[in-house]
Symmetry: C2
């Protein structure tokens, strides 16, 4: 049996026992994992240094090196994250619905773990700990597959938390790392339907597209955020300005940051010059439609391609639209169904926008930057789903579960 087959089999076996563990055992495992991270900090940091040195040698960008780097503060954050997950309510065993049939059968729809969750991710080693913590709490076995650039960090982190979890009573095989980082092993993982119940890619657009194309395991698509803010004709322009600046500049490199600004033509002449000034003062480059470039001479031209782009950078596409319908049409055509906002004082505009925009998170008079499990008050987050099946928007513990129908009878047969 090869290594992937072995991992899959162990995970499946672990998952059947994991689903029956009490909340107490799972929480103790999470606390033990957190303690072990702190106790083994030196081993973790020296493994990470190996990855960082290899990264520097291979010419990795400083942004990527920063995402790869661990330090005592980041290790502590990982440990704190685990303790926060321990404090969240256990989703497993929740009675979702229950009723009695005329023939006396009692039906219960009960929340159960998904089973085995696969996570394929890039760069940041902390994803291992976050994902493993959420999977343990929701009773799932997890198979992690990271990139070669973080191989040493990933290996030591997994060893530390898996061993700690087992000491506290998790079945062996609950947390496993795929020790291979070649493309072929990732593709094999994507086709292991007999062992994996779901696969969650965490990373850039390229990774997500590959998983969606290649996987026969059910996938939850996460993360790509081409988010829009639409400033309506009736908008409070002071409020619009604050929200636009926040959505673009507060943290431009994340999926819930704004990438395209849409402005109603009735207010574009007044709003755009002020917005451009404030945004440019914060280092933002604008790319505009023809009308935008009339109002803001010297602005770069936005091509068709720009409307599709998730810049993750201080770049903003700007389009003047003749009205609400065109704004909605633009978002539904070019967006990635993540997060969109309307700034308006008009009751009908607000209602029509939230009803017609086909995205996971639709805002009235607020910044798209709030799309986040923590901000929403859901606790930790495994990702933000941009698909409609199973889960949509920020996903937390409950989104890592399925349900099961249990039917209690007294000898009923169908007539």
């Amino acid at each position: 049996m090869d290594v992937l087959e072995e991992i899959g089999k162990r995970a499946k076996e672990a998952s059947l026992r994991l689903g029956t563990l009490t909340t107490e055992v799972k929480n103790r495992a999470l606390e033990e994992m957190a303690d072990a991270l702190l106790a083994r900090q030196e081993d973790i940091l020296s493994a990470n240094r190996l990855d960082l040195e290899a990264g520097k040698e291979s010419g990795m960008s400083s942004a990527l090196l920063d995402r790869l780097a661990l330090d005592p503060k980041r290790v502590e954050e990982m440990a704190r994250g685990l303790r926060e997950v321990a404090a969240l309510p256990d989703p497993v065993g929740e009675l979702v619905a229950g009723w009695r049939l005329p023939n006396g059968l009692e039906i219960q729809k009960v929340r159960v773990p998904l089973g085995v969750v696969g996570i394929i991710y890039e760069a940041r080693p902390n994803v291992i700990v976050d994902a493993a913590g959420l999977c343990v709490k929701s009773g799932n076995a997890v198979i992690l597959r990271g990139s070669s650039s973080a191989a040493n960090s990933n290996r030591v982190l997994t060893e530390v938390i898996a061993a700690a979890g087992e000491r506290a009573g998790l079945p062996s095989g609950s947390i496993q790392l795929v020790p291979l980082t070649d493309r072929e092993s990732a593709k094999r993982l994507m086709r292991m339907r007999e062992y994996l119940d779901v696969l969650i890619p965490r990373g850039g657009e390229g990774l997500i597209r590959t998983v969606v194309e290649e996987s026969t395991v059910p996938v939850i698509e996460t993360g790509v955020g081409n988010c829009h803010t639409y400033v309506d004709a009736s908008a409070d322009l002071e409020m619009a300005l604050e929200i636009v600046i926040n959505a673009k500049c507060q943290r431009p490199g994340v999926c819930n940051a704004m990438e395209t600004l849409l402005v109603h033509e009735a207010v574009a002449g007044e709003f755009l010059p002020r917005a451009a000034e404030e945004l440019r003062a914060r280092g933002v480059t604008l790319r505009g439609c023809p009308r935008t470039r009339e109002i803001l001479p010297g602005t770069e031209e936005a091509t068709e391609e720009d409307w599709y782009r998730e810049y993750l950078d201080l770049i903003l596409a700007v389009k003047v639209v003749p009205g609400l319908e065109e704004a909605i049409g633009h978002i539904n055509r070019y967006g990635s169904k993540h997060s969109e906002a309307i700034i308006t004082r008009d009751y009908q505009s607000a209602r029509r926008f939230v009803s017609m925009v086909d995205s996971a998170d639709v805002y009235v008079n607020a910044s798209t930057r709030f799309t986040d499990g923590g901000q929403f008050g859901l606790g930790a987050e495994i990702g933000i789903s941009t698909q409609k099946l199973h889960a949509r928007g920020p996903m937390s513990l409950r989104e890592l579960t399925s349900t099961k129908f249990i039917i209690w009878g007294e000898g009923q047969v169908r007539v």
Copy 2:
């Protein structure tokens, strides 16, 4: 633009409007569709006669011809089915959850349609009407793709219900049939991620496997049912006999019928001869493990292959097991995660079975034949999911929806 692209685009456009229709409009459309089926019965039956003649000429089996055949009674059943869906509660707009954040943002999680649902199905033309009715009620556009053997019936049925729906206010493109029945067009449909939100295959194991392997559109796997009944050492054997006969014989050709009987060794010597007699009297052929064949001399041998089989026929695999754990292990290894039952008087056995068996529907002391949206009281059914993502077990209107987060603000920005 080719025909599939055109269909996808029209469906997507229709879906955005469908999601905002009132329940009244949707119900009127369903009633109008039902009326139209009755009014156009002659056209429907003559189209169906063409399919039946072609089927006979090509040597189609009588079982398949029967599934293909329509008559006034079946047309009436389709119409009644639509009226029953009209009477069900509308899932769209349901507030699933809602809360206020400390910063004043109000978050609502609201039920919305999935968008565009693709259904690929085999043989039975009534699937068109059932599926279209459920999709209309749940606010989804539907793209139907049937087999060539029912092409004439499918075409006329779709024309009749689509036109009736539009007369009552459905947007054009809400109900469409793919006019191509070659394999290539099915594969194209499975990859139309830009237009389809979910694909549901309805048919045999081969069709479902193909869709799972080829589709990049998210799939809900339905229907294959290798269902088990386990007779525990403490079972009431009278009850067990009744349930076993019902689960195997009441309608052997459907997915919730029993395919394998597991019997605890402590009661096998008493139970199996009686069960065999009753089952054989009803035409059932048994295939047994070595121990079964000692108890029932002359019984055919069950091969490893048999434990995986969904016979959909009067054949039953029988295995004697040393205990509950082995029964659970057998089900989790060979089953299709559909429906399983334990017959027991023991409290711990019942609890352990429902907790450890990893299937959509787990019964204590009842026949697996109850796994059905109608029997469960959920109303009509689009299929029975055997996967864990999105929906598990019988799927009705709610399972054809997603959710959307709507966030109402007053200018909040993230700090």
